[in-house]
Protein backbone atom coordinates (compact mmCIF):
# COMPACT_ATOMS: atom_id res chain seq x y z
CA UNK A 1 0.00 0.00 0.00
CA UNK A 2 2.72 2.46 0.98
CA UNK A 3 5.51 0.23 -0.33
CA UNK A 4 8.56 1.18 -2.32
CA UNK A 5 8.88 4.76 -1.11
CA UNK A 6 10.67 6.40 1.77
CA UNK A 7 7.49 5.64 3.69
CA UNK A 8 8.23 1.91 3.51
CA UNK A 9 9.70 1.72 6.98
CA UNK A 10 6.91 3.81 8.42
CA UNK A 11 4.45 1.47 6.74
CA UNK A 12 6.19 -1.71 7.94
CA UNK A 13 6.40 -0.41 11.49
CA UNK A 14 2.75 0.61 11.35
CA UNK A 15 1.79 -2.92 10.33
CA UNK A 16 3.96 -4.62 12.96
CA UNK A 17 2.81 -2.34 15.79
CA UNK A 18 -0.84 -2.77 14.75
CA UNK A 19 -0.52 -6.56 14.79
CA UNK A 20 1.38 -6.51 18.10
CA UNK A 21 -1.31 -4.42 19.80
CA UNK A 22 -4.01 -6.65 18.29
CA UNK A 23 -2.34 -9.76 19.72
CA UNK A 24 -2.33 -8.07 23.10
CA UNK A 25 -5.99 -7.13 22.73
CA UNK A 26 -6.90 -10.80 22.27
CA UNK A 27 -5.02 -11.76 25.45
CA UNK A 28 -6.54 -8.79 27.26
CA UNK A 29 -10.14 -9.71 26.43
CA UNK A 30 -9.48 -13.15 27.89
CA UNK A 31 -7.75 -11.87 31.04
CA UNK A 32 -10.57 -9.37 31.70
CA UNK A 33 -13.09 -12.20 31.35
CA UNK A 34 -11.58 -13.63 34.57
CA UNK A 35 -13.66 -10.95 36.34
CA UNK A 36 -16.56 -13.38 36.08
CA UNK A 37 -14.70 -15.84 38.34
CA UNK A 38 -14.50 -13.51 41.33
CA UNK A 39 -11.83 -11.44 43.08
CA UNK A 40 -9.41 -14.25 44.00
CA UNK A 41 -9.07 -15.58 40.46
CA UNK A 42 -9.04 -12.14 38.83
CA UNK A 43 -6.46 -10.64 41.16
CA UNK A 44 -4.20 -13.64 40.78
CA UNK A 45 -4.32 -13.18 37.02
CA UNK A 46 -3.79 -9.41 37.11
CA UNK A 47 -0.84 -9.84 39.51
CA UNK A 48 1.14 -11.10 36.51
CA UNK A 49 1.06 -7.58 35.06
CA UNK A 50 3.10 -6.33 37.99
CA UNK A 51 5.99 -8.73 37.36
CA UNK A 52 9.22 -7.35 35.84
CA UNK A 53 8.99 -9.28 32.55
CA UNK A 54 5.37 -8.32 31.90
CA UNK A 55 6.11 -4.68 32.81
CA UNK A 56 8.76 -4.56 30.08
CA UNK A 57 6.45 -6.25 27.58
CA UNK A 58 3.66 -3.80 28.48
CA UNK A 59 6.02 -0.90 28.00
CA UNK A 60 6.99 -2.18 24.54
CA UNK A 61 3.28 -2.37 23.68
CA UNK A 62 2.72 1.15 24.98
CA UNK A 63 5.52 2.38 22.72
CA UNK A 64 4.01 0.43 19.82
CA UNK A 65 0.61 2.01 20.41
CA UNK A 66 2.04 5.54 20.52
CA UNK A 67 3.90 4.99 17.27
CA UNK A 68 0.82 3.45 15.63
CA UNK A 69 -1.44 6.25 16.82
CA UNK A 70 0.83 9.12 15.71
CA UNK A 71 1.74 7.44 12.44
CA UNK A 72 -1.98 6.82 11.90
CA UNK A 73 -2.55 10.56 12.15
CA UNK A 74 0.26 11.07 9.59
CA UNK A 75 -1.44 8.58 7.23
CA UNK A 76 -4.75 10.41 7.60
CA UNK A 77 -3.12 13.77 6.95
CA UNK A 78 -1.59 12.42 3.74
CA UNK A 79 -4.99 11.00 2.79
CA UNK A 80 -7.03 14.11 3.42
CA UNK A 81 -4.80 17.17 3.24
CA UNK A 82 -3.82 17.96 -0.36
CA UNK A 83 -0.37 19.40 0.36
CA UNK A 84 0.60 16.97 3.14
CA UNK A 85 2.40 14.64 0.75
CA UNK A 86 5.16 17.22 0.27
CA UNK A 87 5.96 17.16 3.98
CA UNK A 88 6.56 13.41 4.28
CA UNK A 89 10.00 13.63 5.83
CA UNK A 90 9.16 16.22 8.44
CA UNK A 91 5.92 14.43 9.32
CA UNK A 92 7.73 11.11 9.74
CA UNK A 93 10.27 12.63 12.13
CA UNK A 94 7.50 14.41 14.01
CA UNK A 95 5.85 11.03 14.52
CA UNK A 96 9.14 9.59 15.84
CA UNK A 97 9.76 12.49 18.20
CA UNK A 98 6.18 12.48 19.54
CA UNK A 99 6.42 8.73 20.10
CA UNK A 100 9.61 9.11 22.13
CA UNK A 101 8.36 12.14 24.05
CA UNK A 102 5.22 10.26 25.12
CA UNK A 103 7.07 7.01 25.69
CA UNK A 104 9.61 8.33 28.21
CA UNK A 105 7.20 9.46 30.94
CA UNK A 106 5.22 6.23 30.48
CA UNK A 107 8.45 4.27 30.91
CA UNK A 108 9.06 6.11 34.17
CA UNK A 109 5.62 5.25 35.55
CA UNK A 110 5.57 1.65 34.34
CA UNK A 111 9.08 0.78 35.57
CA UNK A 112 9.31 2.87 38.75
CA UNK A 113 7.78 0.18 41.01
CA UNK A 114 10.54 -2.23 39.96
CA UNK A 115 13.10 0.16 41.43
CA UNK A 116 11.12 0.90 44.56
CA UNK A 117 10.36 4.43 43.36
CA UNK A 118 7.01 5.69 44.63
CA UNK A 119 5.22 7.69 41.95
CA UNK A 120 2.18 8.16 44.15
CA UNK A 121 -0.06 5.96 42.01
CA UNK A 122 0.03 2.89 44.23
CA UNK A 123 -1.59 4.49 47.26
CA UNK A 124 -3.97 1.98 48.76
CA UNK A 125 -7.59 2.82 48.32
CA UNK A 126 -6.97 5.32 45.51
Amino acid sequence: MYRGQSGMWAWLLHRITGLGVLLFLVVHIVDISLLGFGPAVYNEGIALFGTPVVRFVSLALIGALFYHAFNGVRIMLVDFVPKAASYQRIMFWTVMILTIVCFLPMAYFVLAPLFGVNTGNTASGM
Partner: protein
Protein backbone atom coordinates in the same frame (compact mmCIF):
# COMPACT_ATOMS: atom_id res chain seq x y z
CA UNK B 1 -8.80 1.24 -8.18
CA UNK B 2 -6.87 4.16 -6.79
CA UNK B 3 -6.79 7.56 -8.42
CA UNK B 4 -4.21 10.25 -7.99
CA UNK B 5 -6.01 13.35 -6.80
CA UNK B 6 -3.18 15.14 -5.12
CA UNK B 7 -4.58 13.65 -1.95
CA UNK B 8 -3.24 10.29 -0.81
CA UNK B 9 -4.41 6.98 -2.15
CA UNK B 10 -8.10 6.56 -1.69
CA UNK B 11 -10.26 3.66 -2.84
CA UNK B 12 -12.89 4.61 -5.36
CA UNK B 13 -14.64 1.31 -5.98
CA UNK B 14 -17.52 2.29 -3.71
CA UNK B 15 -17.93 -1.24 -2.36
CA UNK B 16 -16.91 -2.92 0.88
CA UNK B 17 -13.27 -1.91 0.50
CA UNK B 18 -14.22 1.75 0.40
CA UNK B 19 -16.35 1.29 3.49
CA UNK B 20 -13.47 -0.53 5.17
CA UNK B 21 -11.04 2.25 4.27
CA UNK B 22 -13.24 4.93 5.83
CA UNK B 23 -14.04 2.71 8.80
CA UNK B 24 -10.31 2.32 9.57
CA UNK B 25 -9.94 6.10 9.67
CA UNK B 26 -13.09 6.89 11.63
CA UNK B 27 -12.36 4.20 14.22
CA UNK B 28 -8.76 5.45 14.37
CA UNK B 29 -9.91 8.93 15.42
CA UNK B 30 -12.00 7.42 18.22
CA UNK B 31 -9.20 5.10 19.26
CA UNK B 32 -6.64 7.88 19.67
CA UNK B 33 -8.63 9.22 22.59
CA UNK B 34 -10.09 5.98 23.94
CA UNK B 35 -6.84 3.98 23.89
CA UNK B 36 -4.48 6.69 25.13
CA UNK B 37 -6.75 7.70 28.03
CA UNK B 38 -7.08 3.99 28.85
CA UNK B 39 -3.28 3.70 29.06
CA UNK B 40 -2.98 6.71 31.33
CA UNK B 41 -5.72 5.47 33.66
CA UNK B 42 -4.22 2.02 34.07
CA UNK B 43 -0.50 2.79 34.04
CA UNK B 44 -0.07 6.37 35.24
CA UNK B 45 -2.82 7.60 37.55
CA UNK B 46 -3.13 4.05 38.91
CA UNK B 47 -0.29 1.56 38.73
CA UNK B 48 -1.21 -1.60 36.86
CA UNK B 49 -0.65 -3.63 40.05
CA UNK B 50 -3.57 -1.72 41.58
CA UNK B 51 -6.04 -2.36 38.75
CA UNK B 52 -7.57 -5.09 40.88
CA UNK B 53 -11.08 -6.51 41.11
CA UNK B 54 -11.68 -3.93 43.85
CA UNK B 55 -10.79 -1.02 41.58
CA UNK B 56 -12.98 -2.33 38.78
CA UNK B 57 -15.88 -2.84 41.18
CA UNK B 58 -15.60 0.83 42.06
CA UNK B 59 -15.24 2.02 38.47
CA UNK B 60 -18.05 -0.10 37.10
CA UNK B 61 -20.45 1.19 39.72
CA UNK B 62 -20.66 4.03 37.20
CA UNK B 63 -22.25 2.66 34.01
CA UNK B 64 -20.46 5.21 31.84
CA UNK B 65 -17.18 3.37 32.43
CA UNK B 66 -18.78 0.25 31.02
CA UNK B 67 -19.88 2.20 27.97
CA UNK B 68 -16.38 3.65 27.61
CA UNK B 69 -14.78 0.22 27.84
CA UNK B 70 -17.31 -1.28 25.45
CA UNK B 71 -16.57 1.39 22.85
CA UNK B 72 -12.86 0.76 23.23
CA UNK B 73 -13.41 -3.00 22.95
CA UNK B 74 -15.59 -2.71 19.87
CA UNK B 75 -13.57 -0.14 17.95
CA UNK B 76 -10.18 -1.72 18.73
CA UNK B 77 -11.38 -5.22 17.90
CA UNK B 78 -13.01 -4.24 14.59
CA UNK B 79 -10.17 -1.90 13.59
CA UNK B 80 -7.49 -4.44 14.52
CA UNK B 81 -9.21 -7.46 12.99
CA UNK B 82 -10.05 -5.56 9.81
CA UNK B 83 -6.39 -4.54 9.67
CA UNK B 84 -5.41 -8.19 9.97
CA UNK B 85 -7.84 -9.03 7.16
CA UNK B 86 -5.99 -6.57 4.91
CA UNK B 87 -2.69 -8.19 5.92
CA UNK B 88 -4.09 -11.64 5.04
CA UNK B 89 -5.24 -10.32 1.65
CA UNK B 90 -1.74 -8.96 1.08
CA UNK B 91 0.22 -12.11 1.86
CA UNK B 92 -2.02 -15.11 1.24
CA UNK B 93 -1.73 -16.05 -2.41
CA UNK B 94 -4.60 -18.44 -3.06
CA UNK B 95 -8.27 -17.46 -2.92
CA UNK B 96 -9.19 -20.70 -1.13
CA UNK B 97 -6.85 -19.97 1.78
CA UNK B 98 -7.87 -16.34 1.92
CA UNK B 99 -11.48 -17.40 2.34
CA UNK B 100 -10.60 -19.97 5.01
CA UNK B 101 -8.47 -17.56 7.01
CA UNK B 102 -10.84 -14.62 6.73
CA UNK B 103 -13.77 -16.84 7.83
CA UNK B 104 -11.75 -18.04 10.79
CA UNK B 105 -10.90 -14.42 11.59
CA UNK B 106 -14.56 -13.44 11.41
CA UNK B 107 -15.52 -16.23 13.79
CA UNK B 108 -12.73 -15.35 16.22
CA UNK B 109 -13.76 -11.68 16.13
CA UNK B 110 -17.37 -12.56 16.91
CA UNK B 111 -16.37 -14.85 19.80
CA UNK B 112 -14.04 -12.24 21.31
CA UNK B 113 -16.63 -9.53 20.88
CA UNK B 114 -19.19 -11.66 22.74
CA UNK B 115 -16.78 -12.65 25.52
CA UNK B 116 -15.82 -9.00 26.02
CA UNK B 117 -19.39 -7.71 25.87
CA UNK B 118 -20.75 -10.39 28.21
CA UNK B 119 -17.97 -9.67 30.72
CA UNK B 120 -18.79 -5.96 30.70
CA UNK B 121 -22.53 -6.38 30.97
CA UNK B 122 -22.69 -9.15 33.55
CA UNK B 123 -20.02 -7.87 35.96
CA UNK B 124 -21.62 -7.65 39.38
CA UNK B 125 -19.11 -7.28 42.23
CA UNK B 126 -19.29 -9.97 44.88
CA UNK B 127 -20.38 -8.72 48.29
CA UNK B 128 -17.61 -7.12 50.32
CA UNK B 129 -15.31 -6.63 47.35
CA UNK B 130 -14.89 -2.90 47.83
CA UNK B 131 -11.62 -2.27 49.59
CA UNK B 132 -7.97 -1.42 49.05
CA UNK B 133 -6.99 -1.71 45.41
CA UNK B 134 -3.34 -2.53 45.44
CA UNK B 135 -2.25 -6.12 45.39
CA UNK B 136 0.57 -6.89 47.83
Amino acid sequence: MRLSTGYGARPTSGGFETFSWYFMRISAIGLIFLAIIHLILNHVTTDVACTSYQLIAQRYANPYWRVYDWLLLTLALLHGMNGLRVVIDDYVRTAAWRIRLVSLLGTLTLVLFMVGTVTLITFEPVVGSLGPHCLK
